[in-house]
């Protein structure tokens, strides 16, 4: 599978010279199978450019939403294939406790917040409210599981017969567990990330920032590394960068923490356009 990062920023899109290296678009990851199956994880502002790249080239696409916070759905209305009547678009998102996924998405995709109604989109739209479970799309086996983050939020594990990746974009496992001490059975997201080839994980805060934002649903870079260590992943991609972290700050933060933690696996700070090829 080929994985491409189209948006790596957390919370709020931020463009400018100070975020040029890592990018300012919010969460969006493309996962392309060898058989042509196209998965998109989250529909942050990064999905707009991805939509342009695949426009008129696809007949089916599957969008997996981790949750419905604005930074993960804001790009949806700007995804070109939604306006193509020949394209089948499947959107998967966390089942809500009291109403259907359609109602939640319609809150955003309707006036006065957005000019086009969800029901007026020309594409062949199918919504799937999902929870803990496993399903298959093309060559991919997908495991979805609720994780520690305010509001119902899913993490995903995507596997083929030869490789696996996990996506835990908004995830605060340290809120519920001692990352270093507790048994992994009590570790949020562990089953999704266990021994994956590639883990894309929330790394929004510094330790100092986290102290004032405990419970907001995000991790420190250090906790992301510790989580990856417990899960025995091969490669960690830090993701959901804080809008306040400029390129030079992100470079320094990661270098400093890697020097301290000395992890036995590879770490990359996720940036727009970065691709990973898994067998």
């Amino acid at each position: 599978m080929k994985i491409t990062l189209w948006g790596t920023r957390g919370s709020l899109a931020c463009s400018g010279p100070e975020t040029e290296k890592y990018g300012g678009n919010t969460s969006c990851v493309e996962v392309l199978g060898k058989d042509g199956t196209l998965l998109i994880i989250d529909a942050g502002t990064g999905i707009r450019r991805l939509g342009i790249a695949v426009e008129n080239k696809i007949k089916q696409v599957h969008i997996l939403l981790s949750h419905l916070h604005l930074d993960h759905i804001q790009g949806l209305g700007f995804f070109a294939p939604l306006y193509d009547a020949t394209v089948e678009v499947h959107v998967y998102g966390p089942a809500q406790t009291s109403h259907h996924l359609r109602k939640s998405l319609t809150k955003y995709l309707s006036p006065p917040l957005f000019p086009v109604l969800l029901s007026d989109l020309p594409c062949q739209l199918h919504l799937h409210a999902i929870g803990n479970g496993e399903f298959t799309i093309g060559q991919f086996n997908i495991m979805s599981q609720f994780v520690c983050h305010p509001g119902r939020t899913l993490g995903y594990r995507i596997s083929t017969s030869t490789s696996s990746m996990a996506y835990l974009s908004d995830h605060e496992p340290a809120l519920a567990t001692s990352l270093t001490e507790d048994d992994t059975q009590w570790l949020s997201g562990y089953a999704l990330a266990k021994k994956v080839d590639l883990l894309i994980h929330d790394a929004q805060y510094t330790l100092h920032e986290y102290e004032e934002r405990i419970g907001w649903g995000h991790s420190t870079i250090k906790d992301a590394i510790e989580f990856a260590r417990r899960a025995k992943v091969k490669t960690l991609v830090t993701f959901h960068h804080d809008p306040a972290h400029q390129d030079n700050a992100l470079d320094m933060l990661l270098a400093e923490i890697i020097a301290q933690a000395q992890p036995a696996f590879k770490i990359y700070a996720g940036y727009e356009g970065k691709t990973f090829q898994l067998p």
């Binding site: 929870g131 009590w186 949020s188 089953a191």
Partner: protein, 130 residues
């Protein structure tokens, strides 16, 4: 051991912050977690005993009624919650591992999640001081 579902993980975290005794049992009656307040009241360390079956904990804590008769697990609020997916309450005596006999009030609550999935039984209890 398989990773627990997020609702159980979050309950455990919540209960760890409480000063009131709380514990979790799975749908087989297996004690899968108890907080420090429970450990303190019952005189044991969960980290040392590990998980216990319903049969084990009902015998270890010598659950008994007002007349001193052993209480079968079928008579416990826990069983009502398990069978009826509803809250239940009860009052009985138990013996701690430090050999103190205590009277307790117990409330059990089904932990229901998406699509009415029944994950576990949450139990809260309180000592009755006469």
């Amino acid at each position: 051991m398989a990773q627990k579902k997020i609702e159980l993980i979050l309950f455990r975290q919540f209960a760890n912050y409480l000063a009131m005794p709380a514990f979790l049992t799975d749908l087989n009656g297996q004690l899968i977690f108890c907080n420090e307040a429970t450990e303190e009241r019952l005189g044991f360390r969960f980290s040392e005993t590990g998980e216990m079956t319903a049969q084990q904990w009902s015998v270890i804590f010598a659950l008994q009624d007002h007349g001193g008769n052993p209480i079968d697990t079928n008579q416990l609020p826990f069983t009502t919650t398990l069978q009826q997916k509803s809250m239940a309450h009860g009052q009985f005596y138990l013996r701690t591992l430090k050999h103190a006999v205590k009277q307790v009030k117990v409330t059990t609550i089904p932990l229901l999640t998406e699509r009415d999935e029944f994950l576990a039984v949450m139990t809260f209890f309180q000592e009755i001081f006469l």
